[in-house]
C-alpha cells in the first residue's frame, strides 16, 4: 500500500486535491443539467405524475411565437451589451490620470455596479416614466412628444438594455483601469520615440497589453447578457404583451410564475438556452486550452 502511494504520488495527488471541487461541481452543475435535459421530455405540472411525451415540448417550441420573440431579444441583448466594453475602455482611459481627487471620481463611476440591479431597474423605470420621468421632461423641453419607452413593443427591450449598460460599463471600466496600471511605461516611451500617438498609440501599443482585461470583459459581458433577468422582471415583467422577454425570463415564467408550472416545457427552453451558451463556453474553453499550451 505504502509503496503504491509512493510510486503514484505525483499522479494521484492532483486528483485528491481536485476531488472536493469535482464533487461539488458535479452535484450542483453537471447533475442538474442532465436532470433538466431529462425533464424536457416530460409533461409535468410540478404536482402530479410526470408523463413522458418525447420531443413534443421541442415541437411546441418551434410553433411558439413568444419563444422566438424571446430568442430574438436574447440576440439583441448579446449584440448591444457588448457596447459596454468600448464604453468601459473609454471611461477607463478618461479616468486614468493623476488629478486631485481622482479616486473619488473613479468610485463615482464604479457606483452603478455596486448598487443592486433591482435598484438600477427602478431608477430607470422612473427615468422612463411617461408622465413624470426625466427623459420625457427633457424630450418635451425639446418639443418632442412624450414616449412611454417601456410600454412600446419596439422600444422596451432597448430601454432595458440601456439600463443594463450602465452598471456593465462600470464593471468593464474597473477591469480596464486595473489593466492600465500594468501597462509597461517603457513600451509607451518606445512608441513615443517612434512617433506613435493618439489612436495609433492606443491601437498598437496600449490595447495589445490590455488583452487579458478585454478577454475577461467579454466573458463577463456575454454572461451578463445571457442571464439578463432582474432588470426585465423589475422594469416590464416581460411586457408589453411579452415583447421584452428573453429566454431566461420566459423559462422562469413558464415554470414558476403565477400562471406557469409547465416544468417540462420550461426545461426545454432551458436546454435551448444551454445550447446557445455552450457555443460560447466552447469558444472560451478552446481559447483557455490554447493559451495553456502556449501557442
Amino acid at each position: 500500500m505504502y509503496s503504491f502511494w509512493k510510486n503514484n504520488q505525483l499522479k494521484l495527488s492532483p486528483w485528491i486535491f481536485l476531488a472536493p471541487g469535482i464533487f461539488m461541481f458535479s452535484l450542483y452543475v453537471i447533475f442538474p443539467i442532465f436532470q433538466s435535459i431529462g425533464l424536457s421530455f416530460y409533461q409535468w405540472d410540478g404536482l402530479g405524475e410526470k408523463t413522458y411525451i418525447g420531443v413534443e415540448n421541442y415541437i411546441e417550441l418551434l410553433d411558439d411565437e413568444y419563444f422566438f420573440i424571446s430568442l430574438k431579444n436574447n440576440v439583441i441583448w448579446l449584440v448591444l451589451y457588448i457596447l459596454a466594453i468600448p464604453a468601459g475602455l473609454f471611461a477607463a482611459l478618461f479616468l486614468n490620470q493623476t488629478v486631485r481627487g481622482i479616486r473619488i471620481y473613479k468610485s463615482l463611476f464604479f457606483f452603478p455596479f455596486v448598487i443592486s440591479q433591482v435598484v438600477v431597474g427602478l431608477v430607470f423605470s422612473w427615468f422612463y416614466d411617461p408622465s413624470n420621468g426625466l427623459l420625457n421632461v427633457v424630450l418635451e423641453g425639446f418639443g418632442f412628444n412624450p414616449v412611454a419607452i417601456l410600454a412600446e413593443e419596439d422600444y422596451a427591450t432597448y430601454g432595458i438594455i440601456a439600463a443594463g449598460l450602465w452598471p456593465q460599463t462600470a464593471y468593464c471600466m474597473i477591469l480596464y483601469l486595473t489593466g492600465l496600471n500594468s501597462v509597461d511605461p517603457e513600451q509607451i516611451e518606445a512608441g513615443r520615440i517612434d512617433n506613435a500617438r493618439g489612436w495609433k498609440m492606443l491601437w498598437y501599443v496600449i490595447l495589445p497589453q490590455l488583452k487579458p482585461a478585454t478577454f475577461i470583459a467579454v466573458v463577463v459581458t456575454v454572461i451578463g447578457a445571457l442571464r439578463s433577468f432582474d432588470l426585465i422582471s423589475i422594469m416590464t415583467a416581460g411586457g408589453p404583451w411579452g415583447s421584452s422577454r428573453v429566454l431566461a425570463y420566459y423559462m422562469y415564467e413558464k415554470a414558476f410564475s403565477e400562471y406557469g408550472f409547465r416544468m417540462g416545457y420550461s426545461a426545454a427552453i432551458a436546454v435551448v438556452l444551454l445550447a446557445i451558451m455552450m457555443v460560447y463556453i466552447g469558444l472560451i474553453l478552446y481559447r483557455l486550452y490554447r493559451d495553456e499550451k502556449g501557442y
Binding site: 410540478g46 411565437e65 415583467a237 411586457g239 400562471y259 406557469g260 409547465r262
Partner: protein, 412 residues
C-alpha cells in the same frame, strides 16, 4: 417571579408533550395573510377559536403573499399543513386533481352551508364535492368620481349608450373616462370579463373560460367590437401598459380620470388619495345587450383541508368555526370585505353596502370568480397578455383571436 418561571416551564413542557404524544391537539395552518389588515384579522380568528376550543393549539405559518403561490405547491406535496389558504374556482383545480385537497362535504352539511353559502357554492364545487370554506369575497364594478360626474351633469350610466355618452362628455371636458394600468395584465382581464358578461351573459362567459367555445366565435367578436368602441372613443388612460394598478390610481385622485373598473380593494387607497364618500362613488357596470341578466365578478378567498392533514378532526372543527356567521362578520369587518355566509352582517360602509345589495339583488346572472381564476392558468396568462395588446393595438384583432384559439386548442 419564581412562580412565573415555573409556569413557563410547565407551558414549555406542555408544548413539548403536545408536540409528541398529544398531536391530536395541534393544527397547522399555512397562509398568505401578509398585509397588516388581513394578518390581524386572521390572528383574531385564531384567538377566538383557541378561546372556544382550549384543547386545540393552532400553529400558523405566515408566508409572503406572492411567495405563497409558489410555496403552496411544495408544502402541499412535501409536508402538508392541516389547513391552507387558497382561492375558489379553477384556481384550486390543480390541487383537487392532484388529490392534495380533501373534500369537506360533511362540514358543509353539519353547518348548513348549502343554504347559507349559496352564492359561493359553485366556486367551491368540483366533481360534485365541496373542497373548502370560502371566508371572504369582494365585488368588482365601476368606481367613479361622483363630484366630477355631478359637475358635468352626467347621470350614472345604466345602459351602453349612456356609458358611451358619459365618456364623450368627460373627454370633451378633458377628463379621461377610465383609468387603468395594464403592466401586470390582470386589470385588462377584469375589463374583458365585464364586457363579455354584459355582451353574452354568464353562461357563455363561463363556457369560454372553461375552453368550450372557440375564441374566433362571433359572440367573442361582438365583445371585442364593444371593447374596440371604447378604445376608439379614447376611453382608456394613455400609456396604461407602463403602469401598475396602483400607479393608475393617481389620475383618478387628481381628477384627470373619472372611472376605474376595479375591485373593492381600490377603495382604501383611493380614500388615502383624499377621495371621501362625497367624491367617490360606485355603480354596477352598465348593461350592454338588453335582456342579458346582469352577472358580477366576485373573487372568493378560501381555506382548504389538506388530503395529507395530520389532524383532520380538529382541522374540520376549525373550518366549521371559520364558516360560522358571527366569525365571518367580525373577520370581514376587519378585512373591509364581504362575508360569504348569508347569516353574517356587513359593516356599515357606503361601498360595502352598495356591493352587498348589488350582489344579492342585482346579479341574477351569476357570480364569476375573475378571468384568471375561472380560466386555466396558462390560458389566463396568454389571454390577459393579448387583451393588453388589443387595448394598445386594436387593429390586430384577427391575429389576437387566432392566437388565443390556437392556445385554447392546445391547452384544453
Amino acid at each position: 417571579m419564581k412562580k412565573i418561571f415555573k409556569s413557563q416551564i410547565a407551558l414549555a413542557l406542555a408544548g413539548i408533550l403536545a408536540g409528541t404524544s398529544a398531536i391530536a391537539g395541534t393544527i397547522v395552518i399555512n397562509g398568505d395573510t401578509s398585509d397588516p389588515a388581513p394578518k390581524a384579522a386572521f390572528q383574531a380568528v385564531i384567538d377566538g377559536f383557541e378561546a372556544e376550543n382550549p384543547d386545540v393549539n393552532v400553529v400558523y405559518n405566515l408566508f409572503d403573499h406572492e411567495g405563497y403561490k409558489a410555496a403552496i405547491r411544495n408544502f402541499l406535496s412535501a409536508d402538508a399543513p392541516d389547513i391552507s389558504f387558497w382561492y375558489a374556482g379553477n384556481r384550486m383545480a390543480p390541487f383537487v386533481d392532484a388529490g392534495l385537497f380533501a373534500p369537506i362535504d360533511d362540514v358543509w352539511a353539519d353547518q348548513g352551508l348549502y343554504s347559507l353559502m349559496k352564492t359561493s357554492a359553485p366556486g367551491m364545487t368540483m366533481d360534485g364535492k365541496k373542497w373548502g370554506i370560502p371566508y371572504t369575497y369582494y365585488n368588482w364594478g365601476v368606481y367613479y368620481r361622483q363630484d366630477i360626474f355631478e359637475d358635468l351633469g352626467i347621470a350614472v350610466p345604466k345602459t351602453w349608450d349612456q356609458f358611451i355618452a358619459a365618456g364623450k362628455t368627460l373627454n370633451a371636458n378633458g377628463v379621461t373616462p377610465i383609468t387603468i394600468g395594464t403592466k401586470y395584465l390582470w386589470t385588462a382581464g377584469g375589463v374583458f370579463d365585464y364586457l363579455n358578461l354584459r355582451t353574452n351573459g354568464y353562461d357563455f362567459h363561463m363556457a369560454l373560460t372553461r375552453g368550450e367555445v372557440a375564441w374566433t366565435d362571433d359572440r367573442v367578436r361582438a365583445t371585442m367590437a364593444n371593447w374596440k368602441q371604447l378604445i376608439d372613443a379614447d376611453f382608456f388612460l394613455e400609456n396604461h401598459a407602463a403602469l401598475s394598478w396602483q400607479e393608475a390610481l393617481a389620475p383618478m385622485g387628481n381628477g384627470e380620470a373619472a372611472m376605474y373598473v376595479m375591485g373593492n380593494f381600490a377603495v382604501a387607497p383611493l380614500r388615502e388619495l383624499g377621495l371621501d364618500d362625497s367624491k367617490l362613488g360606485f355603480f354596477q357596470f352598465p348593461e350592454i345587450t338588453p335582456g342579458v341578466p346582469m352577472a358580477e365578478e366576485a373573487p372568493t378567498d378560501t381555506i382548504h383541508l389538506s388530503a395529507g392533514a395530520k389532524n383532520p378532526v380538529d382541522a374540520k372543527r376549525f373550518l366549521a368555526y371559520a364558516a360560522r356567521a358571527d366569525v365571518q362578520t367580525a373577520w370581514n369587518e376587519a378585512l373591509g370585505q364581504l362575508p360569504t355566509n348569508a347569516g353574517s352582517s356587513v359593516v356599515d360602509d357606503k361601498f360595502l353596502n352598495a356591493a352587498f345589495s348589488m350582489l344579492n339583488n342585482d346579479a341574477p346572472g351569476g357570480v364569476a370568480q375573475f378571468y384568471d381564476r375561472d380560466t386555466k392558468a396558462e390560458m389566463a396568462s396568454i389571454g390577459m397578455e393579448n387583451f393588453q395588446e388589443f387595448m394598445v393595438k386594436p387593429e390586430r384583432l384577427e391575429k389576437i383571436l387566432e392566437r388565443l384559439e390556437k392556445a385554447r386548442a392546445k391547452l384544453y
